[in-house]
């Protein structure tokens, strides 16, 4: 049917005619692990609600741009995104306030997931820790400052400032270098001085995984969600526990303003946050649970950011700090690091 649809629209004969009759919910998600999500979340939900999910994938900026462009007549009903991206959307008045009483699983969430951006504009559905992956056979990493040490000269990669991991790395590197607060000027200058020793500023963890696999890079900061790319390798990769601690973040789900599909949206969000689905997703090693009732085996927990102790220890940076300062960081970064 879909194929036929392409052809007919391509011919411009029936554009717009082939509308599905059943009720649909359009969700906007990260593009990774779609097969696993389909099994753990999409298919069971479609069966449960008797509706059809339309899934739009892409990187956050593309997806945000689409939500903004279609603000008057939202195409996307529900989106999952990083907390600071959600805050940016909320500030543009594109989001609907979430009524937590309509989410039966709300009380089961970790405190930090219940209202991560303020004003009940979003609900956290997964946490991730971020630390440094390194080749334990070649070097030892005890501090975030080791990213700039002579030992990794020419073989270290950092996340680009434009991605989610970039500000997190700056945050931890700042602390390691002895600068307090979120003024990253000195830290960015310090990276700028070592710019030639850094292999690249990566954008995707898939790219980093390939570079580490072909031994181009031996140390780099990365989110825990990408750990399984490294843990299965025959190379000796290790997850660092630096003395400054691990950083991390929370990804959130949100609802666009006036999407007209609120009932189905709540049903979907509640389903995703339920202990049943969060456990299934955790066991598939896709996302770490934000629902504290989820119990998984030690073997599963190894691949995740799991447990109250770890989650409460994460040295996070507030979404508002990121949004308020990012333009300044990017300008300085472009000037002294990228050159």
């Amino acid at each position: 049917m879909k194929h036929l649809l392409y052809i007919t629209t391509a011919l411009g004969l029936m554009a717009g005619v082939a509308q599905a009759a059943e009720k649909t919910l359009t969700i906007s998600v990260y593009s990774f692990a779609q097969d696993a999500y389909k099994k753990a979340l999409y298919d069971p939900f479609e069966e449960k609600c008797g509706c059809k999910l339309v899934i739009e994938t892409g990187n956050s900026v593309e997806r945000m741009a689409k939500i903004e462009a279609n603000a008057a007549n939202p195409v996307i009903d529900v989106a999952v995104i990083s907390s600071h991206d959600a805050l940016a959307l909320a500030r543009k008045d594109l989001l609907a306030k979430i009524d937590s009483t309509k989410l039966t699983s709300f009380d089961k969430l970790y405190k930090a997931a219940q209202d991560p951006i303020g004003g009940n504009m979003a609900v956290g559905y997964t946490f991730y820790a971020s630390s440094i992956v390194y080749r334990a056979d070649l070097l030892e990493i005890d501090s975030w400052a080791d990213l700039l040490s002579p030992e990794v000269k020419g073989r270290v990669a950092l996340p680009n400032i434009t991605g989610t991991q970039g500000p997190l790395t700056l945050h931890m590197l700042s602390q390691a270098l002895g600068h307090d607060g979120i003024d990253f000027t000195d830290t960015i200058n310090a990276i700028g001085e070592k710019s030639d020793d850094i292999v690249t500023f990566y954008v995707r963890s898939s790219q980093l995984a390939q570079l580490m696999q072909q031994e181009e890079v031996i140390a780099a900061p990365v989110g825990r969600f990408a750990w399984s790319r490294f843990s299965g390798s025959e190379l000796d990769f290790k997850w660092a526990t630096p003395k400054e601690g691990q950083t991390g973040g929370v990804n959130v789900m949100l609802m666009t303003k006036n999407n007209g599909n609120e009932d189905l949206a709540y049903e979907f969000m509640d389903y995703w946050l339920s202990t049943e689905v969060q456990t299934r997703i955790a066991e598939a090693k896709i996302d770490s649970p934000a629902n504290k009732e989820v119990v998984v085996s030690d073997e599963i927990a190894e691949s995740l950011t799991y447990g109250a102790e770890l989650i409460n220890s994460l040295n996070m940076i507030s979404p508002a700090d990121i949004i308020d300062n990012r333009d300044g960081w990017v300008d300085l970064w472009n000037e002294v690091v990228i050159k």
Binding site: I7, T9, A10, A15, F32, N59, Q210, Q214, S233
Partner: protein, 259 residues
């Protein structure tokens, strides 16, 4: 004698540079390991088989095929009359029309995609599929006009004039006299257009929507998730497809005469 060997050396090195990467991709796709590597870790066909199991590749392959085939057909439907008119008629504004029709070659693709997204898709609500279709057709049109024109210049116009004098209408003279003689050129234009459209990246970069992605863009999106050897395997398969089409065209039509 030395000249002969120098010549062979030069050609050998050039061809290694041009074709070597392609061979490496074919072999890297045969890896039995989990990541892209050359030489590969063992040999297996699993990545070549996996390509067929990835659903999004199937959908985007069909979209790219549809765009390439229908886009090129429409481009020919517009381009053949234009090429005919520019060759056979004294028409007003001929130079302007030539410039307009050639424009898509010079305008960088990424700009075209962005412009269509911002001024046709977002404000008017044109579907992404249709925008892609317009962009790919426009992109192929200059080639259609150019290749068909060059095959038409070799054709003397007195044959059609004779046909008209003998009672044919201009239209039936075109179909009976001109078209059979430029058949090869039209086919060459089709193949060139097809390959151009199918491999097109920058134009489609900004034109993607829910479930709508051309194959090259889908491959890039897949690489955002993993660099496993399936992209190498798919690349190799597509290369065989393109080369196969061109090989057949060359064998039966002498395609390269027209390019």
């Amino acid at each position: 004698m030395t000249e002969k060997w120098t010549s062979r050396l030069i050609l050998g090195l050039t061809l290694i540079f041009l074709i070597g990467p392609f061979l490496i991709i074919i072999i890297a796709g045969l890896s039995a390991g989990q990541s892209l590597a050359f030489p590969p870790d063992g040999i297996s066909l699993k990545w070549y088989l996996k390509v067929f199991e990835i659903e999004s590749f199937r959908d985007s392959f069909i979209l790219s095929m549809a765009l390439a085939i229908f886009g090129t057909l429409i481009a020919l439907a517009l381009g053949v009359p234009a090429a005919y008119a520019l060759n056979r008629y004294e028409i007003p504004y001929a130079e302007t029309i030539k410039t307009i029709v050639a424009a898509p070659i010079i305008v960088p693709g990424i700009i075209v995609g962005l412009a269509l997204l911002r001024y046709l898709v977002l404000p008017i609500g044109l579907t992404v599929t249709l925008a892609l279709f317009f962009a790919h057709t426009a992109l192929v049109l200059p080639y259609a006009v150019r290749v068909v024109s060059s095959s038409m210049t070799n054709l003397r116009s007195d044959m059609e004039e004779a046909a008209v004098l003998l009672g044919c209408t201009r239209l039936s003279a075109f179909f009976k006299v001109v078209l059979p003689n430029i058949k090869g050129g039209v086919l060459a234009a089709f193949i060139l257009g097809f390959v151009t459209s199918f491999n097109q990246v920058p134009v489609s970069l900004f034109l993607s929507g829910p479930g709508v992605r051309t194959l090259p863009i889908d491959m890039l999106a897949y690489m955002e998730i993993t660099y496993d050897p399936s992209v190498a395997a798919l690349s190799a398969l597509l290369a065989f497809l393109s080369v196969g089409i061109v090989f057949l065209a060359e064998k039966f039509l002498g395609f390269s005469r027209y390019v």
